[in-house]
Symmetry: C2
Subunit: 335 residues, 2 copies
DNA sequence: CTGTTAGCGCATTCAA
DNA sequence: TTGAATGCGCTAACAG
């Protein structure tokens, strides 16, 4: 029973050649005898040799790994983003180190520290809902570790970012509802920290203005995204003297909780009340009365684009590159 | 603008002391002058020094990282397992390297190779549905990298494992349905590769036997777990001359698809047809007619127990330890 | 085509 | 209490 993983040194000794020859053989270096090369490769395979990545990383000062920081791994939304990231990363022979901030700033800072210790080559991040400053990410940039923000992007200059604009889709969503005959549309918004670029609300108001519809402030309520908060927000809307007949919900989770509340209140879904939401949890297929439309934000594509941008930064030397901000466009999907 | 991450060597030079002194100071080594120690720590903080983990790993031959291989990151089930693993790992100052096999053997083997190159200290794995041999994991064990299988565990001797037994809960599920008055209960099973220990089916048959109920073979159908397969399986059951009045579904996904089919066939859920499933996707809260009961497999707890076992193996030297197989008990949850 | 050697950052053993 | 020296596995520059 073997114990330790073999090294090129052992291979060299067994073959009575030098370690550099072994190294070259394994790397298909041009100046190497075919015979020697074959011998080495054969023995390496027999011994189950695997190069010690830690040693290579150490020597080269490069880890071939990028860090991916997400708020959580629960939402299918982020799962799709991961797949986008991994696809591009693997194509470039990079590993992806996934971690979740659990939407806590302290955790996010801790993760950045760990990534820095591990000399990760670059970082992709969708910030936590507690993240009010990005000093920890600036720190990375200062040491020439490129950082690309995506999806949940802080609204400050001097960063690279990829995100999906919600403004036009929100306008389309409101138009869609108004065309369906709705005159009072409630909006359940997320917590202030997630309304970074407040496109949902802007779209909501601008659409109302454009359509000549009054947008009462009482129709906009806020949730902390917990189930209790979602329900409370919905109850608040339903307790208005002039109840909304349609709801724009911050995301699918909010929408589902809102629908539950509506059903408990004996409202008939899609007659008394319709819901449109921003997609993050595509479970709606299985509902009897799902949201009638969703704003799709293409997390997979965002992941791909963000990673491509990161690799572009990784390839180029130095940090003199202009900050790049890629904006994708969301889409209103009518079910 | 700084470029490179500082090293202890630079700190030593700036302070005109030796690197070993710096190293000791940063590690709170007992034999170090308080004054020197403070100086070093102060400068290190100012320079934003972070130890080069790659160098430490290289030097120590230890990465303080465990690999976690999962079939996917889509199911909330695995998300909960991850949280269990991370909790224990972080408590032990370990990092977790998460990767998905996407239920492909080739991918799983590739991941194992990468983990081996990275000299991961230990591995936790829930095998892919294609995994018919575990040579690649034996390889790890051979080099003293402990492997703990959990949740989806191969049915072979000579491994460490943590899993959740489904036998008794399945019996309880059938009993529960029979007590509700059902006489024909269909079972939609997963693909052969996932019926490793075939507890669901055994429980299904044994319960029938114990209750003196005939279990016709036509009541057992198979799906590949794709939506199309789930629907086909359900249609097959519904096309029987003697239709089942209740269904035991391999998991929530299967249950949801089955329910959809039933609804399309105008069956009244919970009157014409009831469904019980094995929980992996707790979305059922939001359904109008969810499964009436679920078998809970406690993924978080499985993750915790598996990781604890792994650390136990990591602590002990050598590989002479007896193989440990932890079996948790699932639970029938009635909604 | 192949061998020799240096050095990456750090912890650690041995001396002082 | 501190310094000097060593070596972990590997790559690459240089010498032959």
């Amino acid at each position: 029973m073997e114990k330790k993983m073999p090294t090129i040194k052992e291979i060299a000794r067994k073959l009575n050649i030098s370690v550099s020859t072994v190294s070259r053989a394994l790397h298909d270096h041009p100046s190497i005898g075919l015979r020697t090369k074959m011998q080495v490769k054969k023995l390496a395979a027999e011994m189950n040799y695997e190069p010690n990545q830690a040693a290579i990383q150490f020597k080269q000062g490069k880890t071939n790994t990028i860090g991916l920081i997400l708020p959580n791994l629960r939402e299918e939304y982020f799962y799709l983003a991961i797949n986008g990231v991994e696809e591009v990363a693997f194509r470039n022979n990079y590993n992806v180190l996934i971690s979740q901030s659990h939407d806590e700033l302290a955790r996010e800072e801790k993760i950045v520290e760990i990534l820095r210790r591990n000399r990760i080559d670059g970082v992709l991040v969708s910030i936590s809902k507690q993240t009010t400053h990005i000093d920890h990410f600036r720190q990375l940039a200062r040491f020439n570790i490129p950082v690309v923000f995506f999806d949940r992007v802080p609204d400050v200059p001097g960063i690279h970012s990829v995100w999906c604009s919600l403004y036009h889709s929100t306008i389309n969503a409101i138009k869609f509802l108004v065309e369906k005959g709705h005159k009072r549309i409630g909006y359940i918004q997320g917590p202030p920290t997630l309304n970074i670029k407040n496109e949902r609300l802007e779209g909501y108001y601008d659409a109302h203005k454009a359509l000549g519809l009054p947008a009462k402030e009482s129709l906009v309520v806020t949730t902390d995204l917990l189930r209790s908060g979602n329900e409370a927000a919905m109850l608040k809307l339903l307790s208005l003297k002039e109840k909304p007949t349609a709801i724009l919900a911050f995301n699918d989770n909010v929408a589902l909780d809102a629908l539950q509340v509506a059903k408990k209140k004996k409202l008939k879904i899609n007659r008394d009340l319709s819901v449109v939401s921003y997609a993050n949890w595509p479970v709606t297929d299985y509902l009897d009365y799902p949201p009638i439309a969703s704003v799709e934000q293409f997390p997979f594509k965002q992941g791909v684009r963000a990673t491509e941008l990161l690799f572009k930064l990784l390839e180029k030397p130095g940090d003199l590159q202009p900050y790049e901000n890629v904006v994708l466009e969301s889409e209103l999907i009518i079910h």
